[in-house]
């Protein structure tokens, strides 16, 4: 059913057409509870175990706004240089779809909490593009559907669907740009750089996990083309399911080449939602837009208006972290990096994660060494960015702390990191589940040392005769016997003790 669409060579596209972008980013807040009820928001819980009458839309239940989520929304607005609305309401967005059991999503409509902002976005060559922010508004996430019986879990051909409402009601902020114009052939790069910069900013604000792989940061890319030299916007498409930074760039680029081929062939662009396929790196047609936009919004009667006082907003403004650009400048000085070294770390997407790891307690050297070596290899193998790895700065800092406390060797630490990457939980859980703690029990180690000495009596004699460097062979044997879980330094000490 899927046929490969015609595309135009990219150089020709940008010679003939001028792209206009609009990016909508949804970010799930990392609050402990949902937007309108006290249910937990932990990712990956068993289906329908973080639900209550309110988020299931049961009769008689009433929502109450999570104050922490409103604070996060205001802080995001301020960090995006937005005005904060002195008075705004929630609205009901009415639609029938099983991902929302209430049959409406509580959102904001014509009164977003934050509006009219901007963000400066730095491109790879150091150029800066200022992206206008139209609005940032509060809403709730929907449940997760699982379509059964169709190919690839898609809705097409499914016999029925299964719903998990753990995610329904999780606080969501939707951030919408103004049309991004005049960037020409750099449009795909600008799209990626914007989402990257926004992710870094949100991470610095500590309001979200911003994990695209887990869906806590999601991007919809609106793309249209107009002939070079004209000003009227062309018909746009909205590409969803763009789940990595790399995909943001590729989806925009693909959509430009596809639309250009349609327009050049005398065709018309259909206003529709398109689905990005990670495998083929192409987009395919989804829902048509013309009948889908009648949501009959009205002010939510069950929630009173939000009226942030100037005082409150001023206090929240003081909690804003330093901007990523300023952070980079400071870090370059503190870590004494040359421009080239900083550029390398930036291109590797390592500056923010290292800084966050340092903030979580590691030293800059320790943090840098893990992120640019072992973790960089893992990211490379998986074809993702450092920040997209399923391990975060706080977890890396924890592993480093365990190494410093002598509870892990570097080798064991890598295994713990493997475990976290494999989704086995927090570092402490991986240590426990995989039995990775360093064998620091001297009696167990002494027994292993004695055994190794007994197995190699000639080596033991050499050590006793004062040839200390011969101890290396025994250390190796003990490390092998303990599957690398011994502290080599301590093993060496014990060998010398036993042979003295």
């Amino acid at each position: 059913m899927t046929t490969m669409a015609e595309t135009m060579d990219y150089d020709e596209v940008v010679a003939r057409f001028d792209p206009v972008l609009g990016l909508e980013v949804h970010v799930e807040l990392s609050t402990a509870t949902k937007m309108f009820c006290g249910c937990a928001t932990t990712f990956g819980a068993e289906p329908n175990t973080q639900v209550c009458p309110t988020c299931l839309g049961l009769p008689g239940s009433l929502p109450v706004v999570n104050g922490a989520a409103v604070e996060s929304a205001i802080r995001i607005g301020l960090a995006l240089n937005c005005d904060i609305s002195p008075w705004c309401r929630f609205a009901r967005k009415n639609y029938f779809y099983p991902d929302m059991p209430k049959n409406f999503q509580t959102s904001q409509y014509d009164e977003p909490i934050a509006f009219e902002g901007w963000m400066d976005v730095e491109l790879a060559d150091g150029d800066t593009v200022r992206v206008g922010i139209e609005r940032a508004h509060m809403e709730e996430d929907t449940g997760k559907s699982l379509h059964v019986g169709g190919a690839d879990g898609r809705i097409h051909g499914a016999s029925h669907s299964l719903l998990d409402y753990n995610r329904a009601g999780v606080p969501l902020i939707e951030i919408v740009t103004k049309p991004i114009e005049g960037v020409g052939d750099r449009a795909p790069e600008v799209a990626r750089a914007y989402v990257t910069a926004l992710r870094d900013l949100l991470r610095a604000l500590q309001v979200s996990d911003v994990r695209m792989d887990q869906g806590s940061l999601r991007c919809d890319a609106n793309v249209s083309l107009r002939p070079v030299g004209t000003t009227e916007f062309g018909t746009r498409t909205e590409t969803k399911n763009v789940n990595s930074l790399r995909s943001v760039e590729r989806a925009v680029r693909y959509e430009m080449t596809r639309q250009a081929a349609v327009l050049a062939g005398g065709g018309e662009i259909v206003q529709e939602t398109r689905h990005f396929d990670e495998g083929s790196q192409t987009t395919s047609a989804g829902r048509r837009k013309e009948t889908a936009e009648d949501y009959r919004y009205f002010p939510e009667p069950d929630l009173v208006p939000i009226a942030p006082s100037a005082d409150w907003v001023a206090r929240l403004r003081e909690t804003l972290p330093e901007k990523p650009a300023e952070l980079r400048k400071r870090i370059q000085q503190e870590w004494q990096l040359s421009d080239a070294e900083l550029r390398d770390l930036l291109n590797a997407g390592a500056v923010e994660v290292i800084a966050a790891t340092v903030q979580a307690g590691a030293t800059p050297d320790e943090a840098r060494s893990w992120w640019v070596s072992y973790l960089a290899q893992q990211a490379n193998t998986r074809g993702v960015e450092l920040a997209e790895l399923p391990i975060g700065p706080a977890q890396v800092a924890k592993v480093i702390a365990l190494v410093n406390a002598g509870e892990l060797t570097n080798k064991l630490a890598r295994e713990v990191i493997d475990g976290v990457l494999a989704g086995e939980g927090e570092p402490a859980e991986v240590v426990a589940a995989r039995g990775l703690a360093v064998v620091s029990d001297d009696s167990a180690l002494t027994a292993a040392v004695d055994e190794a000495l007994a197995a190699q009596p000639d080596v033991a004699d050499k050590i006793r005769a004062g040839k200390v460097q011969a101890a290396g062979a025994i250390v190796g044997a003990v490390m092998k016997a303990t599957k690398g879980q011994a502290d080599a330094k301590r093993v060496r000490e014990l060998i010398l003790e036993r042979c003295s």
């Binding site: 988020c55 109450v64 922490a68």
Partner: protein, 99 residues
């Protein structure tokens, strides 16, 4: 004076997933017209300096602390579901509208 057309009733019925017959379109158009006209009399007394009312109580900023409260168990959540599978609510095939 508002006037509700048959087409508007048909559109609303579709949005509300209601099956409405041809005869009912006329009936409901007439009835809705009466209702909307009645409510519209409010416009006659509403002065420009009075903002539209959306809430009956003069409150703002009613917030909850971000503290987890125990909800329902999976069994309780699914107890009233017409059908369930693998701990999830089972719903009929979704036609035509992929979100």
């Amino acid at each position: 004076m508002p006037s509700i057309s048959r087409a508007e009733v048909a559109h609303l019925a579709r949005l509300a997933r209601l099956a409405v017959t041809e005869e009912e379109l006329d009936t409901f158009a007439g009835q809705l017209d009466v209702i909307v006209s009645s409510v519209a009399t409010v416009n006659e007394v509403a002065a420009e300096d009075i903002p539209p009312t959306s809430h009956a109580v003069p409150l703002t900023n009613v917030f909850r602390d971000d503290v987890v409260r125990e909800g329902l168990t999976n069994e309780q959540a699914l107890a009233c579901a017409p059908a369930a599978e693998d701990g999830r609510f089972q719903v009929p095939r979704i036609l035509g509208e992929e979100q």
